[in-house]
Structure formats: C-alpha cells, structure tokens
C-alpha cells in the first residue's frame, strides 16, 4: 500500500513537471505563468513574456534594461527630472534604502493590478515626501500642501516637467487664452526621405489599374499618385510576386519614422512583439460594438488607395473610440472649427481633428552627412501626446493657447470629458506662485 502511494506521488510529480516544462519550452501560450494581470500600459503585451523578462536569471538589472529599451528614448526627450544617474552617488544611500529610485520597478511594479494607480504607479501617491519633505521651509507657497498633491494637482510630474519648471512658467506668464490659431504644417516626411516613384526592387504591375477601375479612381489624386507610386509600389511582395494585401512591412519602406512611432504606441505595440494585431475587443476602454473585432494595422485608419489623412485623423478614430471625450468632439469648440472650414471662414490647415492633438505633426531634423533635412512627420505613437497630459502643453496646446489656460484646462477632468466645451473650473496657481517668487 505504502509503495503504491509513493508510486502515485512520483507519477503525479512527473506529470506536473512535464506539464510545466512543456508550457515553458514548447507551448506558445504562456498564460499559466502569468502571476497577475499586467498594468494598463502593458496588458497588451503581457503574453510576450520575454519583452521584459529577457533572461531567466537577470533580476532587477535585466528588468531595468528592458524598461529603458522601450522607454529610454522618450524619457530622454522628456528631459527626465529623476533619471537613474541622479541617484547613483553613494551620498544617496540612505534615500535609496527608503525608495530605490535607480529602478523603474520600485514605483512601477508590474502584475499588481489591485494596487496600480494612474500612470502605472504602485506606490502611495505621497512618495515625494521622502526627499522633498522640507520644501515648505524654502517656499512659503508650498507650506502645508499635502504631499499627495504634488503630482496630482497639475503642478509637477516625476519625469516630464518640460512645461512646468519655474522659469518656463514665468517666461510664459500672461497672454491671451486663445492666441492666433496656428496653421498645420503639411507633412513631408515620405517625400523628403523616399525617392519619387516606386521603391527599388518593386514591379510596376500597371496593368492592375485597368482591371480595377474603382481602385484606380480612388488612387487618382491620392498622395501616392502625386508621388508617382503605382500599384507595384505597395503590392510587390517577396520574390517580386503580386501581393494582395500589403502590410506594415511595405508601408515602412517609405514611412519609417511613422511606423516606428506606431509600433511604440498603444496601436502597434502588439505587432512589435510579434503578437496578433490589437483589436478594440482586447481593451477595457469604451469602443463601438460594430468595430470590436477590427484588427489594427496601417489600413485600419488609412483607408487603402485613397489615403486621405483628414479621414485618418478623425473619422477613423471615431469608427472605434466610444468614450465621452471622443463622442463630444464634433460639438466641441475644436470640432466646430471644421464646420468653419466647410463654410470657408477659415482655411483647412486651421482645423483641429483628433490627430492634431494626439498625433501631431512635428518638425524633426535629420542630420545627413552633408545636409540637415527638415522633416515634418506625424508622431504615430499616441502615448507621446496623451498621459500625463501635461506633456501636451508645449507640443500641442500652446500652439494656439497660452500656458495658463493650457495648465488649467488639462487639470480639469470634467472639461476633458466634454472635450473642452467651456472654461476650466479651477485655476492652478503655479504661474502666480513662480511670478511672486521672482518678485520677492
């Protein structure tokens, strides 16, 4: 009897071990090992374990490398106020014992849904206290402010303070809340980087035009037609065979920066990890029933052959997004600018659509060996202009509004919900305080 029990135990152990070894080494579905749902920033790729856990034995430093691998460039661009290098000096040893700011995961612990706040923060929100507890002694205005209000009241961010630091506040104090409306620069990235005509190695396939008159009609007048890109420019696949459905690979050939941004943001991050494309169904955000199963790709927003950027910049978004902010757009002051375009009151490049703010056009300078090419490219990583929303102040809001209005508006959650239909309910005093300090 005892022997039998032992045998049973051995069998059970072997079966279990076999199951986990199979799951670990062979099966592509690794959900058995998921120790808890990932945060809102990473849930899309939580099954691409090796995106972060690049090595089974690396520990904290390996994870840190993984964080920086994806987020390093944007932190650098944001002039990160608390980079790791500020904490490595041994004089910070006592601080690091309380809060080891050298590692992202100290504040952003993954797979801890139940204690994850906004911005993926997993610490109590008064963490600034540990190092800045005596700020009230230096700044009269800050005396008695609760420490959980530093980053939640529209005044500071832990990483990105490009629009919030004191000199920027004082330099940009005053002015009309609505300045002259900016003109949107025509995007020219593809034209500046790619050559005119089909990419090298593609077949013209011009005969296809005659076979599909409806497609030909859509293509005529498109930016592709103007740039001399014919059917084969996109429809050439491997071995120079006709490709029915071009994918990101083909688009990327000419639109590299856009593709890179797209793959880094919420729309394309699954593709970057080799997972199936994102669909609204996978998300917790409110989406339209009718498009829940639509797979995200270049063509889900940029409708094939026409490639109308106006359509991609608003209608495409509203085909899927169904939250209050999106639904309130058309009747909002920004949305109404469009009808002014239609009635001829303002020019088309003064209109605002979803992309104007969330995927804005930006000037980038490419340093070639001899020339600096100035490129107006569309930032396809929607995270770059989303959260924390103060990062939109300089790149977006201040193109048409003054700083004070921008700060106040972005700190008003109700105003964001109704898509800025009205005035900010509260005034954030940071500019006033910075000015007063300058006078003293």
């Amino acid at each position: 009897m005892k022997k039998l029990l032992w045998l049973f135990w051995l069998l059970l152990t072997l079966i279990l071990a076999g199951y986990f070894i199979y799951k670990m080494a062979v099966d592509s579905d690794k959900s058995t090992f998921l120790i808890g749902e990932a945060s809102h920033g990473h849930y899309q790729i939580e099954m691409a374990c090796t995106a972060c856990h690049t090595d089974a034995f690396g520990g904290k430093d390996m994870l840190q490398d993984a964080c920086m691998n994806c987020h390093g460039p944007e932190l650098k661009e944001a002039h990160d106020t608390h980079p790791k290098k500020k904490f490595t000096d041994p004089r910070n040893a006592d601080r690091l014992e309380i809060l080891d700011a050298r590692y992202c995961i100290t504040c952003h612990t993954e797979h801890q849904q139940e204690q994850t706040h906004a911005m993926g923060l997993t610490l109590p929100e008064d963490y600034c206290f540990h190092c800045h507890r005596d700020i009230g002694e230096d700044r009269e205005s800050h005396r008695d402010l609760p420490f959980d209000s530093c980053a939640s009241a529209g005044c500071h961010n832990f990483h990105d303070n490009r629009a919030l630091y004191d000199r920027f506040l004082t330099d940009n104090a005053g002015g009309l809340w609505l300045k002259e409306i900016a003109r949107i620069a025509p995007a020219n990235a593809a034209e500046k980087i790619a050559l005119h005509g089909n990419p090298e190695g593609s077949v013209a396939f011009s005969e296809a035009l005659g076979q599909h008159p409806d497609v030909a009609a859509e293509w005529l007048g498109s930016s592709h037609e103007q740039a001399g890109i014919t059917c084969g420019g996109c429809h050439t696949g491997r071995d120079q065979q006709w490709l029915d459905k071009p994918t990101l690979d083909q688009c990327q050939g000419c639109h590299d920066d856009e593709a890179e941004g797209y793959l880094s943001g919420r729309h394309g991050m699954r593709l970057k990890q080799g997972l199936s494309p994102m669909t609204p169904m996978l998300s917790d955000l409110p989406f339209k029933e009718s498009t829940l199963k639509v797979q995200h790709g270049c063509n889900s927003c940029h409708k094939a052959h026409v490639f109308d950027t106006q359509q991609a910049g608003m209608e495409a978004c509203l085909d899927c997004h169904n939250d209050q902010h999106s639904l309130a757009f058309e009747k909002s002051p920004h949305g109404r600018l469009l009808s002014k375009v239609i009635s001829g009151e303002i020019s088309a490049d003064s209109a605002v659509n979803c992309a104007t703010c969330h995927m804005p056009r930006q000037l980038i300078k490419k340093n070639g060996t001899e020339v600096v090419t100035e490129i107006v490219s569309v930032e396809h990583n929607q995270n770059m202009n989303l959260r924390p929303n103060e990062k939109m102040i300089r790149s977006v809001c201040m193109q048409c509004h003054n700083l004070e209005f921008s700060i106040d508006a972005l700190a008003d959650p109700e105003l964001i919900k109704n898509n800025f239909s009205g005035r900010p309910a509260k005034h954030i005093p940071s500019i006033d305080w910075a000015l007063r300090r300058l006078e003293d």
Binding site: H79, K85, K86, T88, D89, P90, R91, A93, D94, L96, E97, D138, R162, Y165, R167, F168, R437, L438
Partner: protein, 189 residues
C-alpha cells in the same frame, strides 16, 4: 647535522630574498589618488569656465548661452556646475571605483547642500581654512568610503555674479577668490 643547518640557512635566505624581490601588493594611496583626480577636475572646470563660458558666453563673443535649462535653448550650454555634474554622471556610467560631486554650504540647488556628517565637516573645514583640503572616512549603506573634500573657488566674475544674483542662492556676497563650495571625491575602501 651541519649539512642540515646549511640547507636550512640557504632555504631561509632564498625565501627571504624572494620575499624582498616581491614588494607588498600595495596600490596607490587614497590621498594621492583623490588629489590627482581633483587636479584633473579642477583644470577641466576652470578651463570650461574661462575658455568656453567666458570667451563665448554673454561676457565674450555672446554666441552661446550658459543656462540652467540649456536644453530648451538653441544655443544653450551647460552651466559650469552642470558641466561638472555631467562629467561625474558620465564617469558613474563607466566605473564605480570613485564618485564625485560639487556641493556647498550655500547651495543654489538645495540638493547640493551637505547630507552626510563628513560632507558637512569637510565643507565647513575648507570654508574656514582657505587653501586646505579635508580628508575623512565614512560608512554609507554597507560600504566604507575614503572621502576627500577640496575647495571650489570663485575663479572669475562669472561665478560670483551669477550666484549672487540667483533667486535661489542663500548667499549674495561672494567675491573673487572666495571658497564657494567643495568638490567631494569618494573612493570605496
């Protein structure tokens, strides 16, 4: 017996001779090490201030603008203190054999005020004894450090003018030649 004594004597002398040839494995003394590092730092710091900031900044050709928020300016360049810190941060990425920082009893940036007992004692010593350095040991975390503190002196008008006028500076009467702060170099022992 005689033979044995002789062999023994030879063995002992060979042993002691070989020991003579191999001096004790002793590295460079910490003081010499930090003094040498400081010499390089001071030279670079003075040169940046005089040859770059003074010459090309607002007091010279006015083509570059030293500014705390230099990243926001097309022609912005780092303040001398930021240049110094950029060096220290770049060093930290290459080695952990030593670290250094610039501090003061009258800091513009509160984070540059003394934090440890040795920092405080060192900064007070070099302020009270111009021209002298301070050396000490301290334990931070689990590591014991040799900590050296060297005076950072106002070498040009640029130093004193900017600090005296800065809204965050607790001291507004620095003069040329004054000790404005200290360079702190730490070597883990």
């Amino acid at each position: 017996m005689k033979k044995a004594v002789l062999t023994g004597a030879i063995a002992v002398s060979v042993f002691s001779l070989s020991a003579c040839k191999e001096p004790e494995a002793k590295g460079i003394a910490p003081k010499l090490y930090t003094d040498s590092l400081f010499a390089v730092m001071k030279a670079d710091r003075t040169n940046y201030t005089k040859l770059v900031v003074q010459r090309l900044g607002p007091n010279g050709a006015n083509v570059i603008k030293p500014d705390e928020h230099w990243q926001d300016l097309e022609n912005g360049t780092l303040l001398p203190a930021q240049m110094f810190r950029a060096g220290s941060e770049a060093v930290a990425e290459m080695t952990d054999e030593f670290t250094y920082s610039l501090q003061s009893l009258w800091p513009v940036n509160k984070q540059n005020g003394p934090k440890t007992e040795v920092e405080k004692a060192g900064l007070e010593f070099i302020a009270a004894n111009p021209g002298e350095n301070f050396y000490g040991e301290e334990k931070l975390g689990d590591v014991t450090y040799y900590t050296a503190v060297y005076p950072d002196v106002a070498v040009s008008e640029a130093c004193t003018k900017c600090h005296n006028a800065h809204k965050d500076s607790p001291k507004t009467d620095f003069k040329i030649g004054d000790v404005m702060g200290g360079v702190i170099i730490r070597v883990p022992l």
